[in-house]
Symmetry: C2
Subunit: 250 residues, 2 copies
Amino acid sequence: MTSPILDIVKSPARQDSDQSVELDDALGRQASLSTALVSVFRGNFCDFILPNRKTTAFKKHSVIYDVGDRERTLFFLRSGFAKVGTIAVDGREVIYDVRKSGDVVGELCATEKARSDRAVALEPTDAVCVPFEEVMQSLLQQPALATVLVDVFCRALKEAYAQVNSMALDDTVHRLIKVLSGLATKIGQRSGPLVQIPVYLTQEEIAQMAGARRERISTALNSLRRRGIVQYSARGHMVLDIDALEPYLP
Amino acid sequence: MTSPILDIVKSPARQDSDQSVELDDALGRQASLSTALVSVFRGNFCDFILPNRKTTAFKKHSVIYDVGDRERTLFFLRSGFAKVGTIAVDGREVIYDVRKSGDVVGELCATEKARSDRAVALEPTDAVCVPFEEVMQSLLQQPALATVLVDVFCRALKEAYAQVNSMALDDTVHRLIKVLSGLATKIGQRSGPLVQIPVYLTQEEIAQMAGARRERISTALNSLRRRGIVQYSARGHMVLDIDALEPYLP
DNA sequence: TCGCGGGTGTTACTTTTGTAACACCCGCGT
DNA sequence: ACGCGGGTGTTACAAAAGTAACACCCGCGA
């Protein structure tokens, strides 16, 4: 993954004063505003399910599980990031969500024999892999954990519905804005009015999240940059100005 | 709700031989091919949660719960049909799903303080209303029920993702086809190669399920009728020829 | 019985989106 | 050092979807 920032920053589309801002990992690592998936490591989930299990390391871009897989296991992310989505028969890709350490991935196998979705590591990622059967068994011994599991599903469901809304009602630009602000609240690292997205996502991937063509996203992104809503940090990571973003939101 | 069948059947768009077929309630009521939401009445859910509770009757078109509601209760449908969806600030509506007796409705309140969705009875509908708290409590006493609840959420999530796929990848006609075949498998009543949809849905509602304008749905529906995929029964209920439908599906 | 309201069918027009094609820039490996 | 490949920016053009407007048909209630 190269980081063609200079290209972007100097591109003909640039007309204003957004210097590539200096944020990278400088202010990062502080409280992210994640509200997406409950951290399954609180609520004793870790105490019950995770101890004495080895974590598996996934390399960047490696497939954690894929469409058609028949193994039924949940992945508890301990570090890194993963995109979850699917690939249609014709090869076109859709991304439902990006998840980070503390989130679960692979929940859908609860009702499936063969997976209909897939997850791919966006960065080097460590995960604890637990067979679905064993998750359900620890639920029998520790019923309070059910709350956590229900919460995981419920949040995912709510977000999926939000995505349906956006696709049904919004145009490309507003879908993009929702994708970006979703990323900001889920995995963003805040510093003042700016939020940095700590993973590198290609325009193609953003397009797959927004349900639009990459070319449109490219144009929309530049229009947002001219309005000061989007910038790029030194490492090519996106930085959002949430104050500037908010007025466009609902 | 009027049933303008004659209008439809005799409309200028008609060019072939689809007589309004005689099926209504004649062959109905037999095993529907529902696979959508697990019947929560199996698996002892009813034994534990539902006995000694009164069922509430909802009139056709009455709102079971609405966007913004702060009460947290699940509704276990015992008869009838309900659409679940939402209304945007500008009034535009989106429908996520149609559910029938045996299904739950209102699950989303598990993580919300204020509901972001709404459910409306499509027919006179009876439901057992159970506060979410009590559901979780019976889970503590009867941990095996967790399987059922997880299943409910997981199926809803899987279907929501399918909807996202369709909106991202399909054009209007294919989205319509998926909506129809989804209705067929969820609430359809089968008789031979034909499946009847036992609720009356306006084109507007179908459009809200497909994420498209009513006008397009009207046209697409007529094109499907000319191809023999869709017919109307005597009471204005849709009837699908699943054999004719299948080739268009994936 | 007359008119109204709701649902449907259809069309001309506008807007949005997708498609195709290409140029550019960069970093990397040969 | 050079070229290649991947990611980005941009445009002209074609296709799809939304908009607006209207006609029709029906059932129902005044």
